[in-house]
């Protein structure tokens, strides 16, 4: 249920070339074959009353409110389950169906509380609406019979209540949990009058398998499943469509408010990425935006041991500008730089890199994408010619074989995972390549055909072995390769070598050769084979090599350039793609163009004035090294918490301590702010106008729903710093920044706020050739012309297990928390994950005398931390896993300096460690 209702056609669209023509109440309408009478009526502008039907769910035919009469047919069929047939003549309002509908409503209302005026859903209740529509005036059965009005309310979930007294047993919640979300946590328990919605096996919602995606709440036509915030605050009065600021799926939401108070976030049906679905973070975890921990005044201090002093904006900005220039005067132009954030808008990121290049006069700008998907940018650019994924999310619905490598979409990208699971339930085959048995390997109605449970750090050996099978067993799409690619012969000769065979690599990878061969055959022989991957690919010392390895495999099998195929990075944060697009890397100007390109620099120099350096600047890890060696002294950190998220924290904090000026712009005084000299309060996504670009290159508008709580926009603050440093930068609105981006970036040439507003969203490239964007890339030819095969030799990581550190630690995230937890730790999501835990295999635990829940020490060659153990057989022996959501754990205390050879993306996924039961002191 929602305040502003998008049209609901009652049953899903049935697209297809064949059509049928029917008459609804005398009005002719032509619809695709298979379309329900209810939907055809809605398309003709006739709303048939309904309760159990909604167009996000398959027709169910239980409420009997949508009955109609059809000429030449007996009885009163349900319009939701009756498909249109040629020449059908339907009457939706006859005395007979009106009487039936009133009778049905009487029965519903006889067992429903008559508390509309005090009900949280008052004014937003389909039962209430339908009672009005059918003209209900009496309930002949009275209200005193047996009923469910005393049924106990379940308030276990932090975000929504379940009040069974208001349930009409329409099953929309149950169906949404299955069909939309794919979790199947809900069921109808009992028969007849005893029928009731139940979570799990009669458990509370919180104790059940429910993942709090909100699909059931969204589907409920009454107040049975109701957001707690609506119960507490009342029904919202206005609605603004905007974009979620969590993961790289980039869901569209309606932010629904009362005045300036955000009441709820409701997924937007017309959102290109999510099409009306959501996850627990985007749907419910927005409380951080108004959390009392927000620091709303700028602050300065001389030294990091001094107390903070709140100041006005002018003083804070002046201090940053003056001290940055003083550092440059003493240590040179290259002694300062900035780190931008993938959580910020494209426009904010663009002005940060512009400030660095034009005002600082160097290329020392990097983005947090450095530590997640920089190998994607490198690898896909080398092979395909563009640093981006190839498909839109809808494409997965056409995939026949889906290969998920080093990604855990049900936790990291849950809304996309629901799309993927839907396709898998329809029969697509699944290959999972992951050391852990992630949920996708076996979940309700889904089972991977192959789980290649490889040893961490052996991705490249696995992909080469798969390519070996494809090449040596004659599975190559020779036509595609001959027409579209180059470098095949050298690559094919390389992968066909005996040392790359599954049998030869089995000892290193741990993947049985027969299993790998079967998986390779399955992927290669699929009509449409699609690869989806995550940080389990990129965050390795061979991350870039692996990205190229996957690109090679996809090209060899002809799996590029149409729906259902492709190589698709699942981006971590909301604007990873966008921050990279915007020129945040120290070697690239916006649009992934190298700074050494004279013509490209010329475009920017002419527009911006001044000279842009032709040499690359420092990447984030290089900044830390340079800080310690004394050549890098001033850093502006925009929306990132490098003192929690980056590896080898001892090294990071030593670097921060060595700097003369650290400026942090953030919502909260985060871990990095402990080393800062100036703190500039940031704005939440609810306070911003701008754009985010998601993992499918989709540019979505972020619309301001409330004024910036700190009084300034983030782009404005950056512009004021640049101006105070002597380089005037000014815009009236972020749309002007996007206009400038479009002016200087060929792939964004046609993009404007007006166009995005008009189309809902736009996938770049958007230019003269593709004025409404490009859902699928490399259709007729690759961006670079020919797709390039690159030889990807397997080079083992430097990180080796030893007698002292015999286990391998791999890190990741879970569904309820996000990145360093700055946002989600300040929401009700802590109910699911109050602390980081260490998962380890029962055998490894037993060897160490560790039992479930024990406090353990986790030690690597660079550091030690303490956390609780969880024994889990989804881990292979020898591998342990934890998250990095909580600063008190500091998982990155133990991760090392190892990084991807090409991009310096840290090797978070492989750290040699030892785990021991911690000594328990008295009182513990």
């Amino acid at each position: 249920m929602t305040l502003l209702k998008e049209p609901d056609f009652g049953t899903p669209e049935r697209p297809g070339p064949a059509t049928v023509s029917v008459e609804i109440d005398g009005m002719p309408v032509t619809v695709p074959e298979g379309t329900s009478v209810m939907r055809a009526a809605a398309e003709a502008g006739v709303d048939i009353p309904k309760l159990c039907a909604t167009d996000s769910l398959d027709a169910f035919g239980s409420c009997r409110l949508c009955v109609v009469e059809i000429d030449g047919r007996r009885g009163t069929p349900a319009s939701c389950t009756t498909p249109c047939s040629e020449g059908m003549s339907v009457r939706t309002q006859t005395p007979k169906v009106e009487k039936l509908r009133q009778g049905v409503m009487e029965l519903y209302i006889s067992d429903h509380p008559l508390d509309c005026l005090t009900c949280p859903a008052n004014g937003d209740c389909e039962l209430q609406d339908m009672a009005g529509v059918v003209g209900l005036r009496q309930v002949r059965y009275g209200y005193e019979g047996e009923n469910h009005l005393d049924a106990e309310k379940d308030t276990s979930n932090p975000y929504f209540d379940f009040d069974p007294s208001k349930c009409i047993a329409c099953s929309r919640c149950v169906r949404a949990c299955g069909e939309v979300q794919g979790t199947f946590a809900l069921t109808i328990e009992g028969r007849g009058f005893e029928s009731k919605v139940a979570a799990g096996a009669g458990e509370s919602f919180m104790d059940s398998e429910c993942v709090s995606c909100g699909a059931c709440v969204q589907a409920c036509p009454t107040s049975t499943l109701q957001e707690r915030s609506v119960v507490d605050l009342g029904m919202p009065t206005r609605s603004v469509v905007t974009t979620c600021a969590y993961c790289g799926v980039g869901c569209s939401f309606k932010a629904e408010l009362r005045g300036d108070e955000l009441v709820r976030m409701v997924p937007y049906k017309d959102g290109g990425a999510n099409e009306g679905h959501s996850c627990v973070k985007g749907r419910f975890a927005f409380g951080y935006a108004t959390h009392p921990d927000r620091q709303l005044k700028p602050m300065v201090r001389e030294s990091i041991t001094d107390p903070w002093r709140e100041v006005e904006w002018d003083e804070a900005i002046g201090t940053v500008a003056r001290r940055m220039r003083e550092i440059q005067d003493r240590h040179g132009k290259g002694s300062i730089g900035a780190i931008s954030s993938s959580r910020c808008t494209n426009e904010e990121v663009y002005v940060v890199q512009k400030m660095v290049r034009a005002a600082f006069g160097n290329n020392n700008v990097d983005t947090c994408a450095r530590v997640c998907h920089s190998p994607t940018g490198y690898g896909l650019k080398q092979t395909f010619g563009e640093s981006a994924g190839t498909q839109d999310f809808r494409s997965v619905a056409e995939a026949d074989v889906i290969m998920v490598i080093g990604a855990n979409p049900t936790d990291g990208h849950p809304v996309f995972a629901s799309r993927m699971k839907r396709r898998l339930r329809e029969g697509a085959r699944l290959i999972v390549v992951d050391p852990r048995r992630i949920d996708l390997v076996r979940s309700p109605h889904i089972e991977a055909s192959h789980h290649l449970q490889l040893r961490p750090s052996t991705n490249v050996a696995v992909v080469n072995a798969m390519a070996h099978v494809v090449v040596t067993e004659g599975l190559v799409d020779k036509g595609f390769v001959a027409q579209r690619c180059e470098g095949y012969e050298d690559w094919a000769e390389f992968v066909a070598r005996p040392e790359n065979s599954p049998e030869a690599t089995e000892e290193v990878t741990g993947v049985p050769a027969a299993e790998l061969r079967a998986a390779a055959r399955l992927y290669a022989s699929a009509p449409n084979g699609a690869i989806y991957y995550g940080l389990g690919v990129t965050e390795h010392s061979q991350g870039s090599t692996m990205v190229m390895g996957m690109a090679n495999l996809a090209m060899a099998c002809g799996n590029i350039g149409r729906d259902g195929v492709g190589v698709n990075p699942l981006r971590g944060q909301n604007n990873v793609q966008g921050s990279c697009d915007m020129g945040s890397f120290p070697h690239e100007l916006p649009g992934y163009r190298h700074v050494s390109d004279d013509a490209v620099r010329g475009v920017f120099e002419e527009l911006w004035g001044g000279t842009i350096l032709a040499e690359p600047g420092l990447r984030i890890p290089n900044m830390f090294d340079a800080a310690i060696d004394g050549t890098f002294r001033g850093l502006f950190v925009h929306g990132e918490d490098i003192a929690q998220s980056d590896p080898n924290l001892k090294h990071v904090t030593a670097a921060l301590e060595a700097m003369e000026l650290v400026v942090v712009q953030d919502l909260f005084l985060n871990e990095t702010a402990k080393f800062a000299h100036v703190f500039l309060p940031g704005a939440s996504f609810l306070e911003k106008d701008g754009t985010f670009t998601n993992a499918e290159r989709r540019i979505n508008l972020v619309r301001q729903v409330m004024a910036p709580k700190a009084g300034k926009h983030e782009w404005q603050i950056v512009c004021e710093i640049a101006t105070a440093m002597g380089y005037p930068m000014a815009y009236d609105h972020p749309s002007q920044i996007m206009d400038e981006i479009a002016q200087v970036t060929p792939t964004f040439e046609g993009v404007s706020f007006d166009l995005i507003d008009k189309l809902g969203s736009v996938q770049w490239p958007c230019n003269e050739e593709a004025p409404e964007g490009t859902p699928t890339m490399h259709v007729d030819e690759f961006t670079r012309g020919k797709g390039r095969f690159v030889v990807t030799s397997y080079v083992p990581t430097n990180e080796r297990s030893t007698r002292r550190y015999p286990l391998v630690l791999t890190t990741g995230r879970i569904l309820s928390q996000y990145n360093v937890g700055a946002q989600t730790r300040r929401t009700g999501n802590v109910a699911w994950h109050p602390e980081d835990i260490l998962e380890l295999h029962p055998h490894d635990a037993e060897e160490r005398g560790i039992t479930d829940g024990d406090t353990v020490t986790l030690a690597s060659r660079v550091g030690t931390t303490t956390l609780k153990a969880q024994i889990s057989d989804r881990m292979p022996t020898g591998v342990v896993y934890t998250t990095f959501h909580h600063p008190v754990t500091g998982a990155n205390v133990v991760t090392t300096e190892n990084s991807d050879w090409a991009t310096n993306c840290p090797e978070y996924k492989v750290t040699a460690v030892q785990v021991r039961r911690a000594r328990v002191t008295a009182g513990d």
Binding site: G334, N363, N364, F494, S541, Q542, T545, P586, H587, H594, S596, E615, P616, G617, L618, R619, P621, N622, D625, A626, D629, T631, V791, S793, V795, N798, T802, R804, R861, V862, E897, S899, W901, A902, T903, N904
Partner: protein, 86 residues
């Protein structure tokens, strides 16, 4: 075993070299030099060159850690690339 820190530029350059080791030596050196030029800040390249000139201090122990085979802790392909960069 205490962690022996390998100087960052040497560690990273050796990593790059290992990923080009499948190429003929001259092509590898060229590719490594190209990569360093396109992706490394000039001060890092200067430090690398200086480190090569200095014979890469503290090579013992570090060699084993980063797998480098050169007498002074550098992969021979890095040394070849450095020659091209001068």
């Amino acid at each position: 075993m205490a962690h022996t820190a390998v100087p960052a530029e040497r560690r990273m350059a050796n990593d790059i070299a290992k990923h080009h080791a499948h190429l003929p030596a001259d092509l590898a050196a060229e590719a490594i030099a190209g990569h360093l030029t396109r992706f490394w800040d000039p001060r890092m390249r200067e430090r690398l060159l200086a480190s090569v000139d200095d014979g890469a201090d503290g090579a013992d122990g570090a060699d084993g850690a980063d797998g480098a085979g050169g007498a002074d802790g550098f992969d021979p392909l890095v040394l070849a690339a450095v020659k091209l960069m001068r």
